[in-house]
């Protein structure tokens, strides 16, 4: 923990902030891609401490938020089947589908279990040979390798009652989609360090060149974020647009070749719908044809689902950085963590949840009002 504490050191943070303040001469709009970074920024009040010229735009990098409603509805339908044990990471349970969530499926008798690893789901399949065990495999490049390995293991061990509902998404096509959107204001990216620790940085130079945007690979602790911002602002002020690694303790430029090989074995690139955004070409992974019998969509025939997204929800605009969460009319009124209209309000990495949890605008005191007493 001492190691982590060092990345939350207030004195070092102060020095980085001073450097950012002395570097910036005009307004810049930076997008942090990852929802984990958004939560660090809001939870630690980093956005309050930055000079006014530096605006942080929250990106689409929350895996729970961008999982398409159709996939959520498929998950709900599979999970409600009496012969199924449905396994998922915890934060998917509260994500609203068209008319219910996984908690509600469980309260009606569905066997929905929270697991901490896809391999736990595989164990449950081995222990329950007469039930179908389905793991909800979602997320970015970060969670894709262990999910791929689990599918590989299920095949290798010959576990017939295990399958995976897969909805993985890839970051670089999302960056491309954001930069080609007509209203795009983003001038630089803080890239998601965990994604780069798997995939490396090879996909970014072309994007940085084509869109003339600095891309700085950034970690998740407060000092990581501030260092990423410092390097990004320095590039912007100098008119540069290179790919820079501000997270070298976790990211090598080539990434993790073993994980990449596992991904290539099990998944294939596909077009993927992003909740609130729409379909982005080549932005996702699905199980490859060779693993089709382990694909829950194939095994359970859950086609023909009609989805129903609340009209008032503007999470798509939030995910693309067009509006801040509190600029949505439903924020904090119709839409709260217990009454989420969209996944961005319920996911632990969602921008709307971060604003609701940590920043009730208009009521949250400024740092000066909340003066230290101890």
């Amino acid at each position: 923990m001492k190691y982590l504490d060092e990345f939350q050191n207030p004195e070092l943070a102060g020095r980085l902030l001073d450097e950012i303040r002395s570097t910036v001469t005009r307004p810049w709009a930076l997008m942090e891609v990852c929802g984990g970074q958004t939560h660090t920024i809001i939870r630690h009040g980093i956005d309050q401490l930055l000079p006014d010229e530096v605006e942080l735009i929250h990106g689409p990098g929350c895996p729970v938020c961008v999982t398409p409603l159709e996939v959520i509805d498929k998950a709900l339908e599979i999970a409600a089947r009496p012969d199924v044990i449905f396994c998922s990471f915890g934060d998917m349970l509260r994500v609203p589908g068209s008319d219910r969530d996984l908690f509600q499926v469980r309260s009606r008798g569905g066997d929905v279990r929270v697991v901490y690893s896809p391999l736990d789901a595989l164990k449950i399949a081995q222990q329950n040979p007469h039930r179908e065990v389905v793991f909800f495999g979602i997320g970015f490049e970060t969670t894709a390798p262990p999910n791929a390995m689990t599918v590989h293991q299920a095949r290798k061990l010959g576990i017939p009652n295990f399958s995976m509902l897969v909805s993985h998404v890839r970051v670089p096509p999302a960056i491309e989609a954001i930069m080609t959107a007509p209203d795009c204001r983003v001038q630089a990216f803080l890239a998601a360090g965990h994604v780069c620790s798997v995939m490396g940085m090879g996909e970014y130079p072309e994007l940085a060149d084509r869109f003339r945007v600095p891309i700085v690979v950034t970690g998740f602790e407060p000092l990581d974020i501030l260092e990423g911002i410092r390097r990004t602002v320095r590039q912007l002020e100098r008119g540069e647009h290179t790919v820079d690694n501000a997270y070298p303790r976790a990211v090598r430029s080539e990434g993790n070749p073993a994980a990449q090989a596992m991904l290539a074995d099990v998944f294939e690139v596909t077009d993927r719908a992003w909740r609130g955004i729409g379909t982005i070409p080549a932005s996702g992974w699905r199980l490859s044809e060779r693993y089709r019998e382990l694909d829950a969509e194939y095994r359970f025939s859950v086609d023909g689902i009609t989805t129903k997204e609340p009209a008032a929800c503007r999470s798509g605009e939030v995910l693309q950085g067009f509006i801040k969460p509190h600029e949505c009319e439903a924020f904090g009124t119709l839409c709260t963590p217990r009454t989420p209209l969209g996944a961005t309000m319920v996911s632990s990495e969602g921008a709307c949840a971060a604003y609701y949890l940590y920043r009730r605008l208009g009521t949250t005191p400024t740092p000066q009002e909340a003066s230290p007493v101890v």
Binding site: L4, A13, D91, R360
Partner: protein, 374 residues
């Protein structure tokens, strides 16, 4: 959307009778906080037992109106009642922890200490407990004996007598081995009046030591997670510590043991009930490195993790040093720390000053915290 629990689309499963068919009351939830996904949720979900907003709503909307009475409406950890001119604290709690035995304790001493502590939060030293066993058919007799022995030992250590009890057995598959209920009564000393309504701006907030130990200890064994070091529950009876505090300041304003929902829920409840604001300094909150590490891995906030041997006190500023000294002189308060103060601004809201100098809102959790995807 339906405003009543009966009848709702899908409210009846497998042709089962609806609540109205069974002569049960309809429940109008239109006045509850939420109109969205839980809006037409006619069933209890796990979050209703999580000690957060859902639990509070269940009590406020169903139980309190059904039972009536001014004492219950105060919604304290224990009720302060007068009987024959004597002021008594009266409390009950049920224990459904899994596994039954965990590092640092078991369901038996938890059931004794939990009720003893609920009474202690009224300033009362527990005198008599009742004990209800709900046993699952098939549970091994040595398990029952182990739980009972632990209860006896905990009761003797707390200076309380288990004076009455009850045993029921449910069919195999209808329980987790052993469920316990304990109720307790104790005398409230003259001049002691502990309730949130007594909190005033300027009160100092003190926590008795490291937070998050019980919740992480349970999680580590329940989910088979290893965090590098064994984390033991802080399960303990706090009557002696409260005595020591009252000896130096009979005018303590409120005490609360931050169990389910953790320190955050306890502070939020006090802020709401007292209509004062609370500002806490995040850096001052004692979080053991092992708990911080485990929470970082799981994406949880230690402030929301359960404790079973800690208390949070609101103390008049002029008594704060004496109370702190008295707490630190007691083995269960050795790690006591001042973490914040009550303020006149932002009534009803808890705000944390972050180590970096920003602020954030600390909100009542919805239900249980969910480990996040990555």
């Amino acid at each position: 959307m339906s405003d009543t629990i009966h009848p709702t689309p899908g409210g009846s499963t497998h042709g089962a009778p609806t609540p109205a068919d069974r002569g049960l009351p309809t429940v109008d939830i239109s006045g509850w906080t939420c109109p969205a996904p839980l809006r037409d949720q006619p069933r209890v979900v796990m979050g209703h037992g999580g000690g957060g907003a859902l639990s509070a709503e269940l009590v406020q909307q169903i139980f309190a109106p059904a039972f009536g009475g001014e004492i219950l409406a105060q919604l304290g950890d224990s009720a302060a009642v007068s009987l024959g001119g004597v002021r008594l604290a009266f409390s009950t709690d049920s224990y459904v922890v899994r596994p039954l035995f965990f590092p640092g304790g078991c369901i038996g001493d938890l059931a004794v200490n939990g009720t003893v502590n609920d009474l202690a939060m009224s300033g009362a030293r527990a005198a008599y407990l009742s004990c209800g066993f709900i046993l699952e058919e098939g549970v091994e007799m040595p398990v029952v004996a182990g739980v009972a022995d632990a209860m006896g030992a905990a009761a003797r250590a707390a200076g309380v007598e288990v004076a009455t009890g009850d045993t029921k057995v449910v069919e195999a598959g209808h329980g987790d081995g052993v469920y316990l209920n304990t109720a307790g009564i104790g005398l409230i000393p003259a001049g002691v009046d502990l309730r949130p309504q007594r909190v005033v701006p300027g009160d100092v907030v003190i926590v008795s030591g490291d937070i998050g130990l019980h919740g992480v200890a349970i999680m580590s064994v329940r989910e088979g997670l290893e965090f590098g070091v064994e984390i033991e529950s802080d399960c303990a009876a706090l009557g002696g510590l409260v005595d020591a505090m009252l000896a130096v300041s009979p005018d303590l304003h409120v005490l609360r043991d931050p169990t389910r929902g953790g320190l955050a829920a306890a502070l939020c409840e006090i802020a709401t009930a007292s209509c004062t604001g609370i500002v806490i300094q995040e850096r001052a909150i004692p979080v053991p490195p092992a708990v911080a590490n485990a929470c970082a891995i799981l994406g949880l906030d230690p402030m929301y993790v359960a404790n079973e041997g800690k208390l949070v006190a609101f103390v008049p500023r002029e008594h704060a040093d004496a109370v702190l000294d008295a707490m630190r002189a007691h083995p269960l308060g050795a790690g006591a720390a001042i973490i914040g103060e009550a303020v006149a601004t932002h009534p009803g809201m808890v705000v944390a000053a972050t180590p970096l100098g920003g602020t954030r809102v600390v909100d009542l959790p919805l239900g249980e915290q969910l480990p996040r995807i990555c």
